[in-house]
């Protein structure tokens, strides 16, 4: 079975085995990367449509009608269509982009190489994991095309709305069933991936690669895998119960006395809060599943281009572990306004504040790494710096929301939208951009265009701040979220101008991403040939050819003698010591 495959040293021949049902972690990593790339553009397209509708709710767009004959009669978007776009935007971005690219994409490609392994511990499981994710994406996209269209309940699928079925609105019928099925498949795929990542990290390190010599990227992937292992298991349970409510007539999440369409429902005994508990027990660790790989990557990139050891390596490791642990005990802070005992709120609030400590340790260590450094401002470095900036901006608003008193006011406003887009959305995306520019030479054997990359960085950086900063202000003023149309509300007044500004910023930022796509695909074909170690970095992937051979190390038996961040070591000729250099 699985473990035999790691002993095979000859690459497979034939297109199917090589590129489609490949067992090679590098091919699977690229497959995940491109799946996420497709998903991110789909998700971004949906968000631009949403922003467009916010500003021009009455606009008649003919191709809206051809895409959604029911959702946009006469080319005017209905509120239901807007909500389904919102739901699918959130779901696709959270699951198929933020969970997929940094962990399953880059992690698959680079975790085995960075610890000196020839492949993951279970190559067959790895392949199954990717194709299950692929199937999950297909099922999710199918929700657009069934009767009633995509679900409306947001990516959190709050009950009772999600448990009611078609009577709750178009999209809550078949579309919602497909949504649950897709998420259940995704849970299975994540479970397979998590087992693989943990077993690989524990078992397949080469001699000398102690845990404390692993690059911080590996630590981040390892802890993220543990979070996936524990979190998605609970989401699966929640999904099973929700599906039972919808198809078997049970009432897990449906309380007595619900009135839908002027009719009292026959259900009783259930609790919508139960869904929130189960969902957020997964949902909060999910936030760290999205951001931890970015943290590991930013640490790595900052150290490489600051030409200094990462400041406080051990503290960074313990901070990752602390964030991973605390991530499991704070889910209640998503539920302050759900009718929770105030004492429980206080407990969750204190734990939430506690996450600020390891997060601040990481931030200060990043700044400490940059302090007095000879910084090389490559595109990868710029995006890593952007990551730190966005992480701080989004993290500070998290401290606001962690206070039950403030959250009561801010929770259903744009403040929350601004907060999680800054930290979980754009910061994680900047981590991916940084990873792309940093690792592209190793993945594809060619360099990306730095000039184009830098233009892309500056425009994107300005763009995302222009989109998401005003949301915080809007939230404080009291602009509610999830509404499809604000034009009819008198209290919105001058705020509509801010929405218009954000819409234009969003369209601008979306268009700028074309630069990235051009850079990516042009460089794949025409970029300058990449040397083995273009960034003069020290970890194992830079000691092998670009792109790496099929079994990564050409059958060589390595031993690791050094830590991952030995830059500017006093008394050495070169300014960096590779991990595989002799002691």
């Amino acid at each position: 079975m699985a473990s035999h495959a790691t002993h095979v040293h000859t690459p497979p021949s034939g297109f199917i085995r090589k590129y489609v049902f490949s067992l090679d972690h590098k091919v699977i990593g690229k497959q995940y990367y491109f799946l996420a790339l497709f998903s991110v553009f789909l998700g971004m397209f949906l968000s631009v449509l949403m922003r467009f509708h916010m500003t021009y709710p009455d606009a008649k767009v003919s191709w809206f009608e051809s895409l959604w004959p029911v959702g946009a009669p006469g080319g005017v978007m209905t509120p239901e269509l807007y909500l389904s776009l919102m739901t699918m935007h959130g779901t696709i971005m959270v699951f198929f982009v933020l969970t997929t690219a940094p962990q399953a994409g880059f992690g698959n490609f680079f975790l085995p190489i960075q610890i000196g392994a020839e492949d993951m511990a279970f190559p067959v499981l790895n392949m199954l994991s990717f194709w299950t994710t692929f199937l999950a994406l297909l099922v999710m996209c199918a929700a657009f095309f069934v009767e009633g269209g995509a679900p409306l309940g947001g990516w959190t699928a709050y009950a009772p709305l999600s448990a009611l079925g078609e009577s709750a609105g178009p999209g809550q019928g078949m579309g919602m069933n497909l949504w649950i099925l897709s998420i259940a498949l995704f849970c299975g795929a994540s479970l397979m991936g998590a087992i693989n990542f943990i077993a690989t990290t524990i078992d397949l390190r080469v001699p000398g690669m102690t845990l404390m010599r692993m690059p911080l990227t590996c630590w981040a992937w390892f802890v993220t895998a543990i979070l996936s292992l524990l979190g998605f298991a609970v989401l699966l349970s929640a999904g099973i119960l929700l599906l039972m409510d919808r198809t078997a007539g049970s009432s897990f999440f449906l309380p007595a006395g619900l009135v839908v369409n002027d009719q009292i429902l026959d259900h009783r005994g259930g609790s919508p809060l139960l869904w929130q508990h189960l969902f957020w027990f997964f949902g909060h660790p999910e936030v760290y599943i999205a951001i931890l790989p970015g943290m590991g990557l930013a640490s790595n990139v900052l150290s490489v281009f600051a030409r200094k050891p990462i400041f406080g390596y051990k503290a960074m490791v313990y901070a990752i572990l602390a964030i991973g642990f605390l991530g499991f005990v704070v889910w209640g802070h998503h539920m302050f306004i759900s009718g929770m005992n105030p004492y429980t709120s206080i407990a969750f609030s204190i734990m939430t504040m506690a996450i600020g400590v390891p997060s601040a340790i990481k931030t200060f260590n990043w700044v400490g790494t940059l302090w007095g450094a000879q910084i090389r401002l490559t595109t990868a470095m710029l995006f890593a710096l952007g990551f730190v900036s966005l992480f701080v901006s989004g993290g500070i608003s998290g401290i606001f929301l962690g206070q039950p008193g403030l959250d009561l006011y801010l929770h259903d406003t744009y403040f929350v939208v601004g907060h999680f887009h800054m930290i979980m959305g754009v910061a994680a995306i900047f981590g991916m951009f940084s990873g792309t520019f940093f690792w592209f030479p190793k993945m594809f054997g060619r360099m990306m265009n730095e000039t184009l990359g830098k233009i892309h960085f500056y425009l994107t950086f300005i763009g995302v701040y222009a989109i998401f900063t005003p949301m915080h202000v809007l939230g404080i003023v009291g602009n509610p979220r999830r509404y499809a149309d604000y034009k009819t509300f008198e209290f919105m007044g001058q705020l509509l101008n801010v929405h218009t500004f954000m819409t234009h910023a969003a369209i601008f930022t979306a268009v700028v991403q074309v630069l990235f796509v051009i850079n990516l695909f042009w460089s794949m074909k025409k970029g300058a040939k990449a040397p083995d170690n273009p960034w003069e970095a020290t970890s194992l992937e830079w000691s092998i050819p670009s792109p790496p051979p099929f079994d990564n190390f050409g059958g060589k038996h390595l031993t690791v003698q050094h830590g991952p961040y030995e830059y500017a070591v006093p008394g050495k000729e070169k300014d960096h010591v590779m991990q595989v250099d002799p002691a």
Partner: protein
């Protein structure tokens, strides 16, 4: 893989598995941790709903319900014993005996599923229990019962198929001791889950 642990200074410094077990066995342990949480979530949901319902029914009579489910429990426990014997035989390299013990385990496992189905049929046909209604009031009684025992039964069924694959492989000289042991881990885990389901779902529902 890289098995030359000569340069390794400690179990954790690379070049081998620090737990001194194969990756497959480690992987199964990780799966068990994850699956344990899936069941825990269901049992917590059951507890949460039961605690918040003042009139939760306790309809199971000692005879026949509890006697029947005790027999099911004994059948499943016996299957764990035969699984231990299978792993034991495999550790001596006796493939013939291993296959026989695995087949015995599969017989007990299938018997459990059949008994369980009989119980379900009885509840659905004679007692009119469904996920959405039952004669004793609280509709969630049936929903939690079928949801939790259903997921467990799915695990047992998958386990029987899994053991079938292992038995066939062992018979043809294909699988190693580790493969049998790993399948045993899964089987014992499924058995252990029942040891939580039985008291929480059955014994706590005895008619007072």
């Amino acid at each position: 893989m890289a098995s030359d642990a000569k340069t390794a200074t400690s179990l954790w410094s690379g070049g081998g598995s620090p737990y001194a077990i194969g990756s497959k066995k480690f992987g199964m342990w990780l799966f068990i941790v994850s699956d344990m949480l899936t069941f825990t979530a269901l049992l917590v949901a059951y507890t949460y709903l039961r605690m918040s319902t003042a009139t939760w029914p306790t309809p199971f009579a000692f005879s026949p319900s509890i006697i029947f489910s005790t027999v099911m429990t004994l059948v499943l426990l016996s299957s764990s014993l035969t699984m231990v014997m299978a792993v034991h035989s495999m550790s001596h390299g006796d493939r013939g005996k291993t296959v026989k013990w695995i087949l015995a385990t599969m017989v007990f496992g299938s018997a459990f599923v059949i008994l369980h189905m009989m119980e379900w049929m009885h509840l659905i046909r004679d007692e009119k229990v469904t996920p959405f209604s039952n004669p004793w009031g609280e509709p969630l009684f049936g929903a939690t019962f079928f949801g939790i025992t259903g997921l467990h039964m799915t695990h047992v069924t998958i386990g029987v198929i899994y053991l079938g694959i292992i038995a066939a492989g062992v018979g043809r000289g294909k699988f190693t001791y580790e493969d049998v042991e790993v399948s045993g881990l899964y089987w014992h885990f499924v058995d252990l889950v029942w040891m939580f389901v039985f008291p929480l779902i059955y014994l706590m529902s005895v008619k007072m």
